[in-house]
Structure formats: C-alpha cells, structure tokens
C-alpha cells in the first residue's frame, strides 16, 4: 500500500490495460517518470476487476486491447458504474465511444501518450475528482 510518508498516497493512479506486455512496460515506465502511480493489466477482465476493486483510487484508464475488445471493455467499465476518464488507443480509425473517452490513434510517440494522459488527468481535476 502507498504510504503518506513518501507522498505516494497523493499520486494519481492510472490503469494501463494493454495486451502487449512490452508496450505496457514501456508506457508504465514513462508514466511513472511523470509522477503517476501505474497499475498494469493485460486483459479486459483484469481491467474491470481492478477498477471495481479500487474505483475511488483510479483516476484514469488507458486501454489498448484491440479495436473491438477495447471499446467493449470501456462499455463494461461504464456499466459497472465507473465514469472516470479513459484514453482508448485505436487502430486505423476512431470508434464510437462515450464523451469521457478520448482516442489516440496508432502510431503514436510515447511522449504523445504521456501528454494525453496528463491532459486527461488535469481535466479530471477540473471536473472535481472522481464521480
């Protein structure tokens, strides 16, 4: 558990749901370097479970689970009652999602994704925190 002593309790948490372990680890390292606490999951089931288990401590989600599964996992997240910001990595073309979901198309620079996550988090802060 994060402790207050090292300040990690104040860090925002983002869940990275990526099929590719390598990509997930690259992005997790970059986002951790930006001061975020990063949770890595590799499947839609783990994503839902993880967010459900600690919804008030999850401040954002980034999803790259393939075009169809990615969109459906976001729909499942919403159905479970989690309404926080999501960044969906899409392949080739944008897909229909809800207004709280941004999209980033491949190919993208790691720095671009980090910027998008920062934006997502700051907008969530303006919104006033978690729903």
């Amino acid at each position: 558990m994060p402790s207050d002593a090292d300040g990690s309790a104040e860090r925002k948490t983002v869940v990275l749901a990526f099929q590719s372990r390598h990509i997930r680890e690259i992005l997790a390292t970059a986002l951790a370097g930006d001061g975020l606490s990063v949770v890595q999951v590799g499947t839609a089931e783990d994503l839902i479970q993880r967010v459900r288990a600690s919804s008030s401590r999850v401040h954002g989600v980034v999803v790259d689970l393939g075009q169809t599964l990615g969109a459906s996992s976001i729909a499942d997240l919403r159905q479970s009652g989690w309404l926080g910001p999501v960044l969906l990595v899409s392949e080739g073309h944008a897909v229909e999602t809800d207004p709280c979901t941004r999209q980033l198309q491949k190919p993208y620079a790691v720095t671009t994704l980090c910027g998008a996550v920062r934006t997502m988090m700051s907008e969530q802060a303006d919104f006033g925190g978690m729903p």
Binding site: E25, K106, A109, T112
Partner: protein, 218 residues
C-alpha cells in the same frame, strides 16, 4: 542462500564479465547465476537457470545476440533481456525494441546504472536512455525508434495543420467547421488530437506556437 533477483551475464570480454559479476554479487538483492561468453551459451544458461534478467552483450562473435534473444523470449518468457553494447547505434536499438528488450545500456555507463537497470527490468519496467524514450513510437507492430529529427509540427496531419492555422487566427471551432465544410465535432476531434501531439492545451499557447513555427502571422 539465493538472492531475489537472478542474473545471467553474457559478454565475450572476461574483464567486463568479471567486474560486473563481482559488482552485482556484492549487492544484497542481485545474484549472478551464470556468466557466459557467447550468445549460444546465453541460451543454454537461460534454459538452465531461468534468470529474472539476462544482460546480453551485442557485439559478440558467433550467433547474433538478437537471434538468441528471440529464442530466449520464446523459451524463457519470464526472463527480461537488457542489451549491453559499446555503441549507441539506432539500428541496434531498433533491433532491441523489435525483440522486446527491457533495456539498452552502453558500456560507458557505470556499474551502478547496470545494477539499477536490472532492478527496474526485474520489477516489470524498462530501462532505455531518455534520448531513446523521447524518440520511441508505438505502432501496430510494437515499439520502434521514431525519426529523431521530426519536429512537433511534422507530427501533424495536413488537416490538423490547417486547423492550427485557423485557431491561431482566433477563429472559433464553429467558424473553422464552416470554412472547412466539416462538422463542429470533427473539428473538435482534430483540435484534441493536435493539442495532444503538441502537448499544448490552451488556445493562447497554441497561437504562440503557430507564430513561432511560422504558421501564422503575429
């Protein structure tokens, strides 16, 4: 007693291997399970010891270290690979990314850096220099090294560039949509994308950026 992080070292230079092994063995948490002199032996050592991390020299005679890395990834999927090289070549880094390496270090780095990288890799992170991180691009095929000379403006599509010019002139999204015969939602999506790419998130800064890049009149 075994240490929490097991490592195999593969380097054809005895002095490098010996010095690094001695350094790592002196830590509380990293133990060298084997040290070998070429890529074939690295495969055998990984199959035998199943280390958390393999530190693999790129410039060894015999089997290509990248071919060996592919074999190790397939047969020991839990072993993380950190490449070590005397050189910082784009081609090597591209190949390291292609085989899903957890790091790339040069031999000019101090042993503390190798030690730290091993811990990062064992913990599920990656260790590439900042110069590599900032050039890394994720595509359908995985991670690769992007063109380091590409400016932020060059990452924009022609349509995003056009919208940036209009935004810098102070036009509203509705006016831009009318001018470009697009829906306001489409313009809004383009705005979001170009702001993400440029990492600029307000209109005043966008206008300044456009002027600085010669895309709009001051």
């Amino acid at each position: 007693m075994s240490k929490p992080i097991g490592v195999v070292l593969a380097d054809d230079h005895t002095m490098v291997r010996g010095a690094l092994a001695a350094w790592l063995n002196a830590t509380d948490d990293i133990g060298v399970l084997g040290d070998v002199t070429n890529a074939e032996e690295a495969i055998e050592a990984c199959l035998k010891h199943e280390p958390h991390v393999l530190v693999l020299d790129i410039d060894m005679p015999g089997l290509s270290c990248f071919d060996a890395a592919r074999t190790i990834r397939a047969r020991c999927p839990l072993t993380r690979i950190i490449f070590l090289s005397a050189f910082f070549h784009d081609r090597y880094i591209q190949e390291a990314l292609a085989v899903e390496a957890s790091g790339y270090l040069t031999k000019g780095e101090p042993p503390q850096t190798v030690e730290a990288a091993i811990r990062v890799a064992a913990g599920g992170g990656v260790c590439f220099s900042e110069q590599v991180q900032t050039r890394m691009v994720i595509g359908q095929e995985g991670a690769r090294l992007g063109d380091g000379t590409k400016t932020r403006v060059e990452t924009l599509t022609p349509r995003e560039l056009e919208i940036l010019r209009y935004l810098a002139r102070g036009m509203s999204k509705k006016e831009i949509a009318q001018t470009m015969s697009l829906s306001v939602k489409t313009v809004d999506n383009h705005c979001t994308n170009l702001m993400m790419k440029l990492d600029i998130h307000d209109r005043v800064e966008l206008a300044r950026f456009a002027i600085r890049e010669g895309l709009a009149e001051p």
